[in-house]
């Protein structure tokens, strides 16, 4: 017999039991649909994390002030603050591969303007901060190096501050009071939205770090230093140079380091590892349902072979070869699972679309997931269809014809 005829025969057989065929395929539909939806959610989360990390800027290194040991009691990260402005200056001076640096101080404060008040995060940064973060302004200008040196009372604000404090007027040139100190608003940041963790990235005020230290936080230590390396290849070298420079300045060794240097890649890797694990986990759970669907197919095919023993006998009597019977049942199983797979792909894509609409979850349907799910479902049909098909092909025509 020819493949064309086999497929014809299989389709006729499946059509004869349309309801049963659809129910059997449902197992695969749900399995494939689940795999695709789950992997899409995983991939969506991953792409969002990647976007967030890219938003940190290009080739960025972060130096955090670390734990400090005071008479045996160790503080946590950012605890005492061990980085100084002198450290930042030394990095700027001596690390030639660092093209931009921005020392950072953070505090939160109540701010007043326009008769309204709001509690927000105050970031003290260098003039290069927005370049490093690749964060554009929607209005106005960034404060300058002169403002930083002069401990200037200038600030730039995020979109949330605009909505909260300047609902009706343009904030540029207005005065904003941070802990009762007047600051002039010189720029407004472009909106950035929520972070992966769900915090509002637009709810902040950026002032020169010198001003933040002397006028707002009243502290002498830096929280961290943002450094931008010239290009991706220089990240590691820059990182090593910074570490040895700071060890020299702080008189520490690897064991006693009171600072941490992280590069963007490490942060990205950590985040990716998390989302990869999640994708894998979701995919594996969904994969189980695909296998359950496959067992459903095997079950129905076994029932079908028993139920159609006479039919097999007739086919054998009129000249079918065992191989042809086997091929017919195998084709039925594969057609069932491939049909289920195709519908499942549509269901999966639909489900991920629906999830992203209703829950605002980021989803990303990957072509690989679709291809793998489809091939896997066909393989499920092949594997779980093999035994029943083989069983059918080995029947003796006389016994099969006599079967009641």
């Amino acid at each position: 017999m020819h493949i064309g005829s086999t497929v014809t025969v299989s389709f006729r057989a499946l059509r004869r039991n349309a309801m049963r065929s659809i129910l059997t395929a449902l197992g695969i539909i749900i399995g494939v649909g689940a795999v695709i939806a789950m992997v899409s959610i995983g991939n969506g989360a991953k792409s969002m994390v990647e976007a967030q990390i890219a938003a940190l800027g290009q080739n960025v290194l972060l130096i955090f002030s670390g734990s400090v040991n005071q008479g045996g009691a160790r503080s946590g990260s950012f605890g005492a603050g061990t980085l100084t402005i002198e450290d930042a200056d030394a990095i700027q001076r001596e690390i030639t591969t660092a093209i931009a640096i921005s020392p950072e101080v953070r505090t939160s404060a109540q701010i007043l303007a326009n008769g309204l008040n709001w509690s927000t995060q105050i970031l003290g940064e260098g003039a290069d901060y927005l370049n490093i973060r690749e964060w554009p302004l929607s209005d106005g200008t960034m404060f300058s190096d002169a403002d930083v040196r002069g401990v200037g009372k200038v600030c730039i604000i995020g979109q949330t501050i605009v909505t909260q404090l300047y609902p009706d007027i343009s904030p540029i040139g207005q005065t904003l009071r941070i802990r009762n100190q007047p600051f002039k608003v010189v720029g407004v940041l472009a909106a950035k939205g929520l972070s992966v963790q769900g915090t509002d990235q637009d709810d902040l005020v950026i002032v020169p770090y010198t001003s933040a230290m002397k006028r707002v936080a009243k502290q002498t230590m830096l929280r961290s230093i943002n450094v931008q390396a010239g290009n991706a290849d220089l990240i590691e070298r820059t990182q090593n140079d910074i570490i040895s420079l700071l060890r020299q300045r702080h008189r520490t060794t690897e064991q006693t380091d009171d600072f941490t240097v992280r590069n963007q890649q490490e942060i990205a890797d950590a985040a990716n590892a998390t989302s990869n694990t999640m994708t894998l986990l979701l995919g594996a759970i969904a994969g189980v349902s695909l296998i359950v669907g496959g067992i459903g197919i095997m079950n129905i095919m076994l029932v079908s072979v028993t139920e159609r023993t006479r039919e097999i006998g007739i086919r054998l009597a009129v000249g079918a070869h065992g191989k042809e019977i086997q091929l017919q049942f195998l084709t039925e199983a594969v057609v069932l699972s491939a049909f289920g797979g195709t519908i499942g792909i549509l269901v999966g894509i639909g489900a991920s679309e629906l999830l992203s609409r209703l829950n605002h979850w980021p989803t990303l349907v990957s072509a690989t997931a679709v291809a793998v799910a489809f091939l896997f479902s066909a393989a499920v049909g092949m594997i779980f269809g093999y035994y029943p098909a083989r069983k059918a092909s080995l029947l003796d025509p006389i016994d099969a014809l006599r079967y009641e």
Partner: protein, 253 residues
């Protein structure tokens, strides 16, 4: 003229471990083109075994069977299947049509398993032609469940004819039919035989055997009688008689 079927000293022994069943004990038989033979015998007489052997569904334990000059003892499972497909047609007691499959698709079935690929149009034409022979071309798109027993058996005969077989093998073709429908079906067989098709049928009923030209009776695996039918029934005449009787019955009532 060489016989279509030539059986020489055929034995069949079923070996189910402890007990050996000697179902057929040395049968020699020639069947020529155009014959119509009834195979009779009580159950256990070996007629079914002989029929399975004739139908190439089973190989004899010893002896030779030449079907159209081909020695089947040398053939494997698949070659036997091809031989059944090309040279034999089967009609069963229980009709054995595929359920929820139209009459036309049922008749097309043997063509799906031929060595030569038949185009679907040709398949349909040939199937229609065979349905026409058994007088059911107007029921081509009916499912078996929508047909009467006699009609189902005629579809089965059409299916057996579709590959132009050398021999038509019928296993109690009227076993599930009432007497009037049996006569109808025997009419179809007689018509086919008149056109030159060789027919072998197993039957219990003497009056059915009387429609054939030759009667072979078996007992305990051996042929006990092989005689030409002296006073052959003709289905057409019988049918007329039944119609008249029915008409008369209505008159009386």
């Amino acid at each position: 003229m060489t016989p279509v079927v030539k059986i020489e000293d055929v034995h069949k022994i079923y070996d189910s471990g402890e007990v050996k069943v000697h179902a057929v004990r040395g049968i020699t038989l020639d069947l020529y083109k155009g014959e119509m033979m009834a195979l009779m015998g009580a159950s256990g007489s070996g007629k079914s075994t002989l029929m399975n052997t004739l139908g190439c569904l089973d190989r004899p334990t010893s002896g030779t069977y030449l079907l159209d000059n081909i020695d089947i003892s040398t053939l494997d499972r698949n070659e036997l299947a091809d031989l059944r497909n090309e040279k034999l047609g089967f009609v069963f007691q229980g009709f054995n049509l595929l359920a929820r499959t139209t009459a036309l698709e049922n008749v097309e079935l043997p063509m799906l398993y031929g060595k030569r690929r038949v185009r679907s149009r040709e398949m349909q034409e040939r199937a229609m032609h065979c349905l026409d022979i058994v007088g059911l071309s107007d029921r081509a798109d009916h499912f078996p469940s929508q047909l009467s027993g006699g009609q189902q058996q005629r579809v089965a005969i059409a299916r057996a004819l579709v590959n132009q077989p050398q021999v038509l093998l019928a296993d109690e073709p009227t076993g599930n039919l009432d007497s009037k429908t049996s006569v109808e079906v025997m009419g179809v067989f007689q018509k086919l035989n008149d056109e030159g098709i060789t027919i072998v049928m197993v039957t219990h009923e003497l009056d059915i055997a009387n429609y054939c030209k030759r009667n072979l009776v078996m007992r305990d695996g051996r042929v006990v009688s092989d005689t030409p039918v002296a006073n052959r029934s003709i289905a057409e005449t019988e049918m007329k008689r039944i119609h008249e009787a029915e008409a008369a019955a209505k008159l009386i009532a």
